[in-house]
């Protein structure tokens, strides 16, 4: 591996930082969800990520790490974020395989596989006011940055920038998936909670790789 490769320690750090974001912003995420959903996103994500960090320990390979993360999320989150984030991490693990580090291309391939899993599980498309609206642009920015020769840290920072823009762009949208879709036009004017937690996911990645 080269110095730029992403280590297992950095991946665990990513999860640790994501846990910190969702627990510190638990009230904020729940407030967003109470406007257009069922007011449990903050509590669900905090409970899920706390369970993840309890289970992770010292993983030996990338696939073992993300299998633990995904399986723990699907059985501890409770809401739709469980199967969605669970699928995301499980697919990263399957894509990465039994390795102990990821180069930029392997990181991008893993995240892309996770994203495709989310899309296939939730059947959401861009513009439906979901986590897809933050994750899709983030991965496009990551790919573009890596393609122009940047290291994973720089690419992750670009991904975080794009995830924030994607999150902010959900505000005027009318929800077409999930509980928020029951509100129809009234869902416009609020940030999507899933896109907001996804922006934290990429903020955590950018900080872990920095």
């Amino acid at each position: 591996m080269t110095v730029a490769d992403v280590t297992l320690d950095q991946l665990v750090d990513w999860l640790t930082r994501f846990r910190a974001f969702v627990t510190e912003n638990q009230g904020y995420l729940t407030e967003l969800d109470s406007a257009i959903g069922d007011a449990d996103h903050g509590a669900n994500m905090a409970r899920g990520m706390n369970a993840v960090l309890d289970k992770v320990g010292e993983p030996e390979t990338v696939d073992a790490l993300f299998k633990t993360v995904g399986m723990t999320l699907v059985s501890s989150v409770g809401g739709a974020s469980g199967p969605l984030y669970g699928t995301f991490f499980l697919r990263i693990g399957t894509s990465a395989g039994p390795v102990t580090s990821l180069d930029g291309a392997a990181l991008a391939a893993g995240l892309r596989a996770g994203f495709e899993g989310v899309v296939s599980r939730g059947k959401a498309e861009a513009g439906d006011k979901t986590m897809v609206d933050a994750m899709g642009p983030a991965l496009d920015a990551l790919d573009e940055s890596l393609g122009s020769g940047s290291d994973p840290a720089t690419a992750a920072a670009a991904a975080f920038d794009a995830a924030q823009r994607g999150r902010d762009a959900t505000e005027p949208l009318v929800a077409r998936k999930g509980r928020a879709s029951y509100l129809g036009e009234r869902s416009a004017g609020h940030l999507d909670p899933g896109a907001t937690s996804t922006a934290f996911l990429f903020q955590a990645l950018a900080e872990a790789l920095a």
Partner: protein, 237 residues
């Protein structure tokens, strides 16, 4: 007998739906497993628990899974990645309560996975039809065609869920196609094998239903319904 899995955010909701269905099952109920809540009193669903429930009731006859809403659907579809059974598993798109009732009653009557799944899926159509059905009685009497049998419903509630499930169960072992029409609303005819169809007739006490049957067991099928109707489906005081 097919197995039934009930996936809900709420254990109380799932248990109540199952209890409602079991009131309509006369004989042995099918294997039923509930996967509800996300542990420790948390409202939600757990894909691992759904997979365990599927494996618990799985047999070569297959498993039919009913889900309430939102994450229940996502967790059930994800559970298919974690099951160990080789049995065919179908996720029903039926509305929750109607689906659980239809699935359990039909499974108890020995329905195949395909038949139970199709019948449960038609539950919403049946409800739509029921709400749009004109309550006005037909003004003109229609002529009874050859082979049709008219029966008057003696029990006060008519063909509500319990009698409907008795009819479906009675049809279970017979090689016959029986249609039922409420002569008060003769524009709609349903199969005697369709729980939701029979219920959607809204045939009330005092109404006359018309049976038309074909197939090798046609006479036995009509007799079975005639006997049950004559006894007011066990609901006469």
């Amino acid at each position: 007998m097919i197995g039934i899995v009930v996936v809900s955010h709420s254990r109380a909701l799932a248990d109540a739906a199952v209890a409602l269905a079991l009131e309509m099952v006369g004989g042995s109920p099918p294997p039923i497993a509930v996967a509800a809540g996300a542990g420790e009193g948390v409202t939600g669903t757990d894909a691992i628990a759904v997979a365990a429930a599927i494996d618990e009731v799985a047999s070569p006859d297959g498993v039919l899974v009913f889900m309430d809403l939102g994450s229940a659907v996502l967790s059930a579809s994800m559970a298919l990645e974690f099951t160990s059974t080789d049995a065919e598993v179908r996720l029903s798109d039926a509305p929750f309560v109607e689906g659980v009732v239809a699935g359990i009653v039909l499974a108890a009557a020995g329905a195949s996975l395909a038949d139970a799944a199709r019948e449960a899926s038609s539950a919403m159509t049946a409800k739509n039809a029921q709400l749009e059905t004109s309550p006005e009685p037909a003004a003109e009497a229609s002529v009874v065609s050859n082979g049709a049998v008219d029966l008057t419903l003696l029990n006060p509630l008519g063909l509500h869920a319990r009698p409907a499930s008795m009819i479906v169960a009675a049809m279970g072992g017979l090689d016959a196609e029986v249609s039922i029409t409420d002569t008060a609303s003769p524009e709609r005819t349903v199969s005697a094998k369709s729980l939701m169809g029979i219920m959607s007739l809204g045939a009330a006490g005092g109404h006359t239903i018309r049976l038309e049957a074909s197939g090798p067991d046609a006479a036995r099928a009509v007799d079975a319904i005639r006997v049950m109707a004559g006894d007011g489906f066990g609901e006469l005081e």
